[in-house]
């Protein structure tokens, strides 16, 4: 296998790809874990679980899907399946050693006013889970087509759900932003 002009083993290539995805999409994972886990310990636990699931699912990645869409799928599925205090199954598959997940400094959602961002996460956590998923994807600017790919439903259905979520969440986020 080749990575960045050098011949590497499949394992090294996988680690390099995993590392580059994390560099590029750390903000996405951080946002999703912050939107589902209520406190720092849970957030770290969920982040680890998401990273583990990404690592485990990597061999099945198909390049026809955008990396961000695929990562959204894995992260949302893991978050929806994740239970507070549930013991992790990370020991089953060895993973590369990871540094603490860096927050994406270029992401305006993370680099802007901390209190406002925290308030936004609190508001998202209060939403029903499906609405939280749609709100996150909507805030990240995913198209209806990408949302449909992540959720596994038709674009029409995404549109219908999106409008319903907008009606409910507009008021809440308006209060968060303007209070």
């Amino acid at each position: 296998m080749w990575y960045d002009g050098m011949q590497v083993t499949a394992e090294e290539s996988g680690e390099a790809l995993f590392g580059s995805w994390l560099q590029e999409h750390a903000g996405l994972i951080f946002k999703i874990s912050s939107s589902f886990a209520p406190d720092e310990t849970d957030r770290q636990d969920l982040t680890q679980e998401i990273l583990f699931q990404i690592w485990r699912s990597m061999p099945r990645f198909q390049p026809k899907v955008k990396v961000s869409t695929w990562l959204y799928r894995v992260a949302l599925n893991t978050s929806l399946a994740w239970h507070r205090g549930e013991r992790s199954r990370r020991w089953q598959i060895p993973m590369p050693e990871l540094e603490r997940l860096p927050a994406d400094a270029n992401d305006p959602l993370l680099s802007s006013d901390r209190e406002l961002v925290d308030a936004l996460y609190v508001a998202i956590r209060k939403l029903p889970k499906l609405d939280a998923c749609l709100t996150l994807m909507s805030l990240d600017g995913l198209s209806y087509h990408e949302m449909a790919e992540v959720l596994g439903i038709s674009e029409d259905n995404v549109g219908r759900l999106g409008h319903a979520v907008d009606d409910v969440t507009c008021g809440r986020f308006h209060r968060v932003y303007h209070c």
Partner: protein, 134 residues
């Protein structure tokens, strides 16, 4: 003792086979949210089914055999100690009935525990899937 070893051994083999099968059909987190939720729901339904089997084929037989054996042993011993004539209908039948009542209590207790453990999560997943389907 042999009567108790039978369900324990049988169920151990059953559980190992079931777990090996389960490894093949584990939910994949890179599939769509809908597919993933459906497989988690199927897994929860399977766990409920598994727990019910544990109750029917492991806990209830063991409880019934242990309880009935103990009661019969006590009743039999009492009759022997008082040198009264051994009356099977008067000794064993009440012991079996009492053990049956214990079995029913244990069954309902475990049924309640299974409901309490899995039902909220199951309902949550069903609601999520219903909302996704519109």
């Amino acid at each position: 003792m042999l009567l108790m070893m039978l369900p324990v051994g049988g169920f151990t083999v059953f559980t190992i086979v079931d777990r090996l099968q389960h490894l093949k059909r584990r939910s994949r987190h890179d599939s769509s949210v809908k597919v993933c939720l459906e497989s988690i729901l199927a897994e929860i339904n399977h766990r409920i089914w598994l727990c019910r089997n544990v109750v029917w084929w492991l806990i209830l037989p063991v409880v019934f055999v242990a309880d009935a054996g103990f009661r019969c042993y006590l009743a039999w011993g009492l009759r022997t100690a008082t040198a009264a004539p051994i009356d099977a209908a008067g000794t064993i039948v009440p012991a079996l009935v009492e053990s049956g009542v214990t079995g029913v209590i244990v069954y309902y207790l475990f049924r309640w525990l299974i409901q309490k453990s899995f039902q909220p999560r199951k309902q949550e997943l069903e609601t999520l899937l219903r909302n996704l389907d519109g």
